[in-house]
């Protein structure tokens, strides 16, 4: 692979929630490399080189390469879940909560945890089935918050389609932004949030 283009750790955006411990440094480098080279095409030597240690030393912090992958995914979910809960606590109405959820998810994908979130999606089946279950457990907690808000909105007649399906469509639209969105004046993150919110509330005014 095109290893020459991969930078040193200092040039990689700091992944939210990870400190400068060896563990944190490895996970940040891993998120970056797994995202841009793929999990399988990234060697533990690549990873060690970016972190600035020898490949054997990685195994003092993680028991296997897959363990690193799994940790990247879990940290991403955990960190964003925490932020999401904080944001939700401040939002009063379901509409505002929905906006907070959208905004939070966009930030998780487009901000410092973006690479880890992309890894979560793109390297999903590099995980053994038991590890998939382990990560899914975390994810379900997160999804429950979405379903709760969407269910309220449906009960209020503000959205019309089944919350479960509707959430899935929105999840896809949001996740995909990581592949194309780049912040610019004419389309700030707030603008993007509003655009997705319009999508989420589609059909709302049909009743009005």
């Amino acid at each position: 692979m095109n290893m020459m283009t991969i930078k040193a750790l200092e040039d990689i955006p700091v992944m939210g929630g990870l400190d400068d411990s060896p563990r944190g440094r490895v996970l940040r480098a891993a998120a970056h490399l797994f995202r841009h080279q793929g999990y399988n095409r990234t060697t533990v030597r690549d990873l060690a080189r970016v972190v600035g240690i020898q490949s054997g030393s990685l195994f003092h912090h993680f028991s296997s390469k897959e363990d690193i992958l799994c940790a990247v995914m879990e940290e991403a979910i955990r960190y964003n879940f925490a932020r999401m809960k904080a944001a939700m606590a401040e939002a009063i109405t379901p509409q505002l909560q929905l906006r907070a959820l959208i905004r939070g998810e966009l930030e998780s994908i487009l901000g410092p945890t973006g690479e880890a979130m992309a890894v979560l999606v793109y390297e999903w089946n590099a995980l053994t089935p038991e590890r998939q279950l382990q990560v899914l457990a975390l994810r379900d907690e997160y999804e429950a918050a979405w379903l709760q808000v969407l269910t309220q909105l449906q009960q209020q007649g503000i959205i019309q389609h089944p919350p479960f399906f509707w959430r899935r469509l929105l999840a896809g639209a949001i996740a995909w932004t990581g592949n194309w969105y780049r912040p610019e004046k004419s389309m700030t993150l707030d603008d993007l949030t509003d655009m997705v919110l319009d999508m989420a509330l589609a059909g709302r005014a049909q009743d009005g």
Copy 2:
């Protein structure tokens, strides 16, 4: 990897547009394996075994493993592009054209080419840059049709957001269905199409 679960070719859904030539058989098996095991975790021996030939024989039909990956992607795009053009030709108004586009894209992801389409998304950077360009050229043609329809709808005031961005959000929502949608009575493919169409036309009635 989890090879024991992988079936023989006869059990793999026939990928649209591929005949029973050796080439077609290889591409169908490849789409399936690449989708469920990942490109890197699928060995040429895996592939040969499913097709029912020896691994060396693969290289009579394709010059490399990456060549197979690229062919899977190109066949999927080409086949669906052809079907999409046919469907578009029959739709008169932009609204109907939009529905045809959504329906076609959902079929491409949920129908016989679904595995190949997923490979196109998930294994994108297993392709060398020059091959990415080659595939992108095909893809651009396809996207142009979407943009044309969305632009017309915007000019008519039916959608409000910039077509380019709007298309991206819809593309994400539709692509993601491959990860969760399973046909059932309470949510047929037609129902799903209408649900996405509602999303696409979000805000339409706000003006009314």
Copy 3:
């Protein structure tokens, strides 16, 4: 390997003694390819392509790739041995015979059989031991002529060193010309012959 530089059969110098039969065409191409790419780095497909047939067809004329190698070597020896005997028959004195031997050997290396002769030297241990013996039998006949002439010259006091060893040194000097000599005005084949002859008769005048 650098296959693109390998020409069609028409551009390869006609190896002496080989007609335009399929067998002859294969041997000429083989001498050329084995010389410039090495025996192992030349595939039967390379060979077939240059000859203008399919690789499977080669095996109607030769039972194996090694069989082709062996035939190249044997033809070269046989052809040059015949020419050498003819030349020797015309030379009267041992000195003239020596010159004829030198001239003949230089021609075999620098002329149309040069590639085959180089293969004989450089691919010697691509041959199985039994085939080596088979070729050596031919070679011994050829060497006997040299030894006879050198022995006569030694008996006449014209050369001083043991004929067997002296022949070996000369054989090396002559064989190596294939790696550097290119005909030019200031060093024709005749000039080269005389230069080697001077070497062969070294020390001659010390007695005089």
Copy 4:
């Protein structure tokens, strides 16, 4: 190939200039195997087995099989060049220098570096063109010493033919000794040196 005849490292003559480091052990085994089996017919597994390591471990010391071949050649040239310079420094007259050059070259071919020198000749075009240039650069330095001495001898009227061509003939005669010379009482290395020296000074007495 005839692998059963290949011995363990301990039975292979110690190639001059190489210590007992892993690198040195590999190069000595490689010189031996490449010489007797040919470069292409020697597998990295053969090589590893003789060295007493696993095949994968070779690639900690050399980046490729060709890298090993190249190192064998370069070490041989470098080592012999150093010895040659030392010997030349002690020789006063051009005649003595010529004898030193001949003696040194014979030793390089018949002594501990003999296998490596043979590999240099016989496996030359297993090297990629750029590597050939790299090795040629080393070789040119070495050849310059020969030409200088031969040119002096020509200016003194001691040899008559153009030094460049004369050197080539001698080089062939000397290189070829590796294929036939075995030390014995009636033909020691000194005797052989004198025999080649007589050749080199051929025609000398013609003027006398």
